[in-house]
Symmetry: C2
Subunit: 385 residues, 2 copies
DNA sequence: TATAACATTGAAACCGGTTTCCGTCAAGAC
DNA sequence: GTCTTGACGGAAACCGGTTTCAATGTTATA
């Protein structure tokens, strides 16, 4: 049905000029109602959709945003992308996924190749690890960019940033254990070079101190955020004489907590009866492990949605306006407007327009940082059923 | 450094015409060595990368392929995409990710909108559920397409298809349990409307019959491929009087097996001591649940890689030829060729050129179907440590 | 040696839109 | 009843490449 019509064909069919069709399609203000209707009738009748490529060339802006991620098999990444996809689905933009394996030493080349194509009008960088400095160079050269990156303090980011308050998260976890009556609470810390690991640790310390306890160096273990290091820490701990065991452990991420659970299982140590466990992240798996893991939930999907919202606002402040755009004319004609007038809202909070409101999270230098909240999810690993 | 140079600028700098630059960039055969070098020197010096959008417009083909997926939080999807991403990373194509929520009733509109943009030169449809008929319409209208879809018999697909041999998979699972000496083996079947569920069931029956056993209707349960139905089946089974219990269970997918494990845990039933369990899929989680799940592994990542390889071969048979393409001139200049001469191979099997080889899996009507092999992964849920 | 055939390369058309520039026409100002 | 002003819409330039077509210089053929 919808053969390759061009704007020229539509113009001819409607008895007007190319430029008029273009103007109608782009909702140019000074257009008479009559002309608009005449064109739109033909557009709808023939199910016309303007060629994106041509649009991109002529208009200088592609309706594409790039999303750079680590391999999708990393925990949390799919959840973030779900948030991104749900938001994007409601706009007229599309997402180009660059899933790169950061272990490949040529990754900076990959990024350069990607970006030099100038195909995307903006980039969302998700957990780009050691690629951050390289990416920031592109940002400084003018590429609109938003980062989700908890390895460094947000203050240090010159570009917009979305993340959570890890300190409060660490506090929540520890406080939960304190509330349950535990006093000897250990912490398995993430890599010190990661800011989020430091913050979680500080939250842990703060909670302890508020409860009149001083963090005990003997109860602080160093992990690497992966299950293997979790296992190592568990073995180290369980090898101690029993009276030197902690009553509870706050592990800095769920991955390491899984390692802990495995070793506990192997050695027949009951969780939470002998040791209570709290993780951090609330990965999809965490409710399925045995026992289900109490953990501090990061709203990954919401983070993705907020981040892409931010990015699109930078690229195109009107990206969610109910503009009459050709793509809407298709499908079941007539109902075209409905999907467009429903502006997407990343969460159910209705807090759009952030970039324009005075309450927007501008930093003093004008950079936008958004910090979402973590929440404690209580499961059996800290509280027996 | 790499400001927006055009092919015109390069032509001027090299003292040749636009067309010559274009020809060099596209490795047109009839080009003198001298001209080629003259142009390439400038291209490299200025780190020139031709504008993809313009290329797309003029050449009529965008270097973009679409990948349509269910939400990435579905099991297996991220793994398939990893395979896709790894393959694509080595080509000059990019992937546009359309992650749609199939529960949204407007999904056919979404697909129409996507495809009518004509932005992608091909589509890889991953587990598109009830969208299949709609997608096939687009295929028949000429959109290059590959499907990963195990809901219907491959024979019924008019389009290229990648999947596994579910029958053999079911056979492997059951055979494993038989080899361990079990005789009363139950099966929790997936939805009957899914072809893969039927196939797995048939493999189960075949293995039993080969062992001289007749499938017992009492030992056949009906699930829905989700954890909830797994729990339901488990409760139903465990509620029976003990002597009517099976010795082992082949559950048609890992998700349902998780439900089984949960209920077993609740009711204090030891696995595998009291009942052995085998799943299907080998999702990422399956090695982490307690006890780790014995399961039939589907090579998801390889499926993704094969599928995208197939698609790119349809769209552009030369997509992996070491053509001298401009994008390669950048990065660390000089080493440009290296990445191009390394043709990507989806697996370590070196079995490229499939579409050209006589051994290619053409069906009688010319359609390509690729069936990969499953493999049994033995873990503690079927064999005590 | 004249000519056909071929290898190279430049000029120009084209891909399908957006946007600038300019002419037309009608309403409001003087 | 002219003149100004602004709304409206058409013609044409432009975005940055690819590809067709034709011209040129060479080499093989007769």
């Amino acid at each position: 049905m919808d053969e390759k019509l061009t704007i020229q064909d539509i113009a001819r069919l409607a008895g007007v000029s190319k430029s008029s069709v273009s103007r109608v399609l782009n909702n140019y203000p000074a257009i008479s109602q009559e002309l608009r209707e005449r064109v739109m009738r033909v557009v709808r009748e023939y199910n016309f959709v303007p060629n994106v490529t041509a649009r991109g060339l002529a208009g200088g802006k592609t309706r594409l945003v790039g999303v750079l991620t680590p391999p999708l098999t990393w925990p949390a990444v799919p959840e973030m992308l779900r948030g991104v996809a749900e938001y994007i689905e409601r706009t007229s933009y599309e997402m180009v996924l660059y899933s790169v394996n950061f272990e490949n030493p040529t990754h900076t080349d990959v990024v350069d190749r990607i970006l030099s194509l100038r195909m995307v009008s903006g980039l969302l960088a998700i957990l780009p690890c050691d690629l951050t400095p390289h990416l920031l160079k592109h940002f400084e050269r003018g590429l609109p960019m938003v980062m989700i990156n908890d390895q460094e303090p947000p203050e240090r980011f010159p570009c917009p940033w979305v993340g959570v308050d890890n300190r409060t998260g660490g506090y929540q976890a520890t406080r939960h254990l304190l509330d349950l009556g535990y006093r000897r609470i250990a912490h398995v810390m993430g890599p010190k070079r990661y800011y989020c690991a430091q913050e979680r640790y500080e939250g842990y310390c703060q909670a302890l101190r508020e409860a009149g306890l001083e963090p005990d160096p003997e109860l602080l273990l160093q992990g690497e955020f992966d299950p293997a290091s979790g296992r190592r820490c568990a073995r180290e701990l369980f090898a101690r004489e029993r009276k030197r065991w902690p009553e509870a452990i706050f592990v800095a991420n769920d991955q390491m907590a899984y390692g802990f659970l495995e070793v506990a299982e192997e050695q027949g140590i009951q969780i939470p009866q002998e040791i209570a466990l709290v993780g951090f992240d609330d990965n999809l798996v965490s409710s399925h492990v045995r026992p289900p893991l109490t953990t501090v939930r990061q709203p990954f999907s919401q983070m993705g949605a907020k981040a892409i919202e931010l990015l699109l606002k930078m690229v195109d402040p009107d990206h969610l306006l109910p503009r009459v755009r050709a793509a809407e004319g298709m499908g079941n004609a007539g109902a075209g407007m409905t999907s467009a007038t429903t502006a997407p809202s990343s969460a159910a909070d209705g807090s759009d327009h952030q970039l324009r409101e005075p309450s927007a999270p501008y930093r003093s230098d004008g950079t936008i940082h958004i910090q979402l909240e973590t929440s404690l999810v209580v499961r059996a690993s800290s509280v027996p059923a």
